[in-house]
Symmetry: C2
Subunit: 347 residues, 2 copies
DNA sequence: CGGATATCTGACTGCGCTGTCATGACTGCG
DNA sequence: CGCAGTCATGACAGCGCAGTCAGATATCCG
């Protein structure tokens, strides 16, 4: 028996009706005050707030959600990793949500594949959320269409697989950053730029790959074969051992900083100096990037800005179901030039 | 008007009563099946599940919570940072929660100070959670006592400020790791070990400081003055500049890897070689630790193990309110020796 | 073979809130 | 002064589930 057996009366946590009684008003009026509705006299408002305070009253959100049909909460689907990117994005989302009066419900997916994301979205829907943020999904979301998602969805870092369904926005996109990184190397005089990509199942990896290609093409540079990593420093190290064997490699754009650091280590061990022989650019600007040897040139992802901007649009879609979605805006580009890049060596 | 105007009838999302109608049973029986209660015939169970499937039925958790008084969700209070430690812990908690059937509600605190934590806990209570995890709070939780917390609370990485209140467990604790790190340096022959601590407001920082002291004392080593950082590589770098000026410094235990990396950079710039002149041990084993120069000797925090163990105890407290809390168990110690430590130089 | 027990099912109720509507009191204005 | 409009409040119903209890069968045992 979970219910309150109304014995002690004082022992059970207070309900709005208790507040009402203490304030000498109706229960509905308590609800009005606590929801900031109009048409409540100053006097009553004060009495109600005082009574609520005195009793230590806390609203029961389950009842509120049931009665109003809104949960005032946002669901987030993320990868279950502590990778700097996804983790930072999650923190950015939390920060962006905090002041809106919404609560956060978080579900991870192990793999981020469509089935996993669909399951996560389903469980969020079941919990009841007014909107959903899908952070950095992997692969196409084909299996998503089957879900009847009747709340707005914001997809960060990938084209929205919900596009056909319901009120939807999408956001993210870091091509400009990749282009800036690649361009930086080309501007230094490198004939071309190699690319150490993330796992191709990730949209983030595919985006950066495509943007790197575009930057090379725009510059008329030839496109060397792509080396594939898995975001980890270990995979960057493995890639570095291969790249070090090829003397034509003078510049590498790594799809994240961890791989860049592993890469640099492998190059150093192979006797290829960075940046004298090979220039390396990373991606993310992780906290230690400025302090590794050599300090890493990288592009900083504006996680907070992306999260805030996306959430603004999601909340807009939630609160104005019939209005057109707000258009996405491009995040700022922030290339941080340190010491891992230099002009190519003379031949 | 949020409510379903029962016009199209088919358009509105299905309720348990719709499932009941389709399966030819009562609504209560649907509830029984979906909650796995006893005393339902196989035949009925199948029909109900089929009907639910056909309708794409999803339970309304707000109603469930209201009726049952349980939300089947766990609230988490974390710092709003992407620091590797807290972020990893959050991921560990998510992983640990996922298979238990509970959902996660996350609230960050900006500062992690008592008032912030109290506010976060309050907002979780308001949302309705069956248990709360407070991850790495800062300072003493004096203001916490005022909150009437009537659910079990697990505090990771700090003594529980709720100790006097209600069913409570606590966990974490990394003294053994710190001792192992310090001991490792002493065993190498260093006369003493300097400490680059985290901000003293953090429990994690105080814990490591105390454990470092204890390890020195146990070894009869003198205790050099503590250098204080803020977890960031930048602060490690600043500390490194100061420590580099003191030739008596031969070994440093940094309270996290980021600071260790900044520290090593500063030492290198000052001409003090690591590990030949100065040995450095970090804390966390961040992903790049093995690939910086030199590869960092560090201790790995068993985030997943801590989260799992703590959650097991929290769930036990939730589901057996009257039973004694399970005793905490010590996490495994994992010292990862790489190349940033060596015997002290000959004098 | 009768009563005791185990199994299965449904009617009814209520969780604590918000939406709707009704009711007064008060204002302004011709 | 009377009627419309604004403001302020309360009564009542119902959101979609799970808890309780009662009733209907089936099973068991002496």
């Amino acid at each position: 028996m979970t219910r309150q057996t109304g014995r002690g009366a004082a022992s059970s946590t207070p309900r709005s009706v208790d507040v009402a009684r203490l304030a000498g008003v109706s229960q509905k009026t308590v609800s009005r005050v606590l929801n900031g509705e109009r048409y409540v006299s100053e006097d009553v408002r004060r009495r109600v707030l005082q009574a609520a305070e005195d009793l230590g009253y806390r609203m029961n959100n389950a009842a509120r959600a049931l009665a109003s049909g809104r949960t005032r909460s946002i669901g987030v689907v993320t990868l279950g990793t502590a990778l700097y990117g996804p983790a930072s994005l999650l923190m950015g989302i939390e920060r962006a949500v905090r002041d809106t009066g919404y609560a956060l419900r978080v579900v991870n997916t192990v793999e981020g594949d469509p089935a996993g994301v669909a399951g996560a979205v389903g469980s969020l829907l079941e919990q009841g959320v007014d909107g959903i943020v899908v952070s950095e999904p992997i692969d196409e979301g084909t299996s998503m269409a089957e879900l009847s998602v009747d709340v707005p969805v914001l997809v960060i870092g990938a084209p929205s697989p919900f596009a056909t369904a319901h009120p939807v926005t999408s956001g993210g996109g870091a091509d400009l950053l990749t282009r800036a990184a690649t361009q930086h190397l080309l501007d230094l005089g490198h004939l071309t730029v190699h690319h150490l990509s993330g796992p191709p199942r990730w949209f983030a990896a595919r985006d950066r790959l495509a943007a790197w290609r575009a930057a090379l093409a725009a510059h008329g540079a030839s496109e060397p074969p792509v080396v594939e990593g898995d975001w980890s420093a270990a995979s960057g190290y493995a890639a570095g051992r291969r790249l070090a064997a090829d003397p034509s490699v003078t510049a590498v754009f790594a799809a994240n900083d961890d791989m860049a650091i592993g890469l640099i280590r492998a190059l150093a061990e192979a006797g290829r100096r960075v940046p004298d022989d090979v220039s390396v650019v990373g991606f993310d600007d992780i906290p230690v990037a400025a302090y590794v040897t050599p300090p890493l040139t990288t592009v900083r992802q504006p996680f907070d800005a992306v999260a805030q901007e996306g959430l603004k649009r999601l909340l807009h879609a939630i609160e104005n179901p019939d209005a057109d979605p707000l258009p996405p805006s491009d995040p700022p580009v922030d290339l941080v030039v340190r010491s891992s890049t230099a002009p190519p060596p003379h031949r």
